[in-house]
Symmetry: C2
Subunit: 212 residues, 2 copies
């Protein structure tokens, strides 16, 4: 068993607790006591709670965006085969791969993204737009290529609709699967939920435009 340092122990614990209860509802004392480190360690290593939150995001968003960026570059080299399904699958695969295929960690990934998004105000939104805006618009552009008969502005909106469905669903994955099991007697794997989500999204993006 490899000994992990204080910084990573804090990040590992903060990640889980933030995903479970939100940022404001998670105290530094809860994090440090569960992580088995001293309370002052957070301010020593990160400077402040706000900086810790950003560090948590950076740790999984940086590799995610790097991988996504690489896969998008690969797709751009052969523009003919770019479909919605392939683009969405690329996104999904990036998330899963970065979390080493662990569904539990993928859930945390999306749960945190959802929290960050609903935390509409101030510093986190700026942080996202500055660090990850480029990859996002690259994805947006690829998607516009994949559906040439849908105007770019409509693609923009539909991507946000899709983003909402994704984050919303995957951030509440476990409770939803429990309801599904109790109401229909069927236990779906996260992968199966993901497949259903992707076909829903593809159908939505390709839908007929509203009669304006």
């Amino acid at each position: 068993m490899a000994q992990i340092g204080t910084v990573d122990r804090i990040l590992d614990t903060a990640e889980v607790l933030f995903a479970q209860k939100g940022f404001a509802e998670t105290s530094l004392r809860a994090i440090t006591s569960k992580a088995g480190v001293n309370l002052a360690a957070v301010n020593y290593h990160f400077g402040s709670k706000e900086a810790l939150i950003q560090a948590v995001f950076e740790r999984f968003l940086n590799p995610f965006c790097a991988r996504l960026d690489g896969l998008l570059a690969e797709l751009e080299s052969k523009p003919d085969s770019v479909t919605i399904e392939r683009l969405l699958a690329t996104l999904s695969q990036s998330a899963v791969a970065v979390q080493r295929g662990d569904p539990q960690r993928v859930a945390i990934f999306f749960r945190l993204s959802g929290l960050a998004y609903s935390q509409a105000q101030g510093h986190l939104r700026r942080f996202f737009r500055e660090h990850y805006g480029e990859v996002f618009s690259r994805f947006l552009h690829q998607l516009a290529v994949a559906v040439p008969d849908v105007p770019p502005m409509e693609v923009f909106w539909r991507v946000h609709f899709a983003l909402g469905a994704t984050i919303f669903t995957l951030s509440g994955m476990d409770p939803l699967r429990a309801i599904c099991r109790s109401d229909f007697g069927v236990t779906l794997s996260p992968q199966q939920v993901n497949d259903r989500l992707l076909s829903f999204l593809a159908g939505g993006i390709r839908a007929a435009l509203p009669a304006s």
Copy 2:
């Protein structure tokens, strides 16, 4: 100018502040000082902050569900004409009507719903399931009738996907419209965003099932 009582002044103010910054981030002092009432008034009239939060939800969810329930009953009497589009429009109209057509208040409505949902833990989730679970499953059943070729369990999942897209989008309506204006030079009205959302959802719900 009609004088409104202390209770409603608190509810009006809390509603806005909760929607803007979340529950934990909004202090009772912020609410009471902005509402122009004494700090102790919250605990006097509601008992606790948690009870205030529930009261805020009840005030707009009760009339919303009542109206939705009535419209659903109306639809059940003529099962032939029930389509996805009509059902979604019913939902949308209920929300708009209850908020007296004020887009600002409709935004608050969805923003609060989104917050409640992302606040996955404990008391709010129970509260929702107990109070509004019946109307929800009634809606679900109607939707299953409207798309007979999609199995009920698939409808269940797709409704949650749609719920996510809706809450997510409408809760961040204003910032998204600002981005759309700056990126495409087009200013959409909330109604126009709603139309686009509805066709996206209809397309998603009707999409081809994943090859399992």
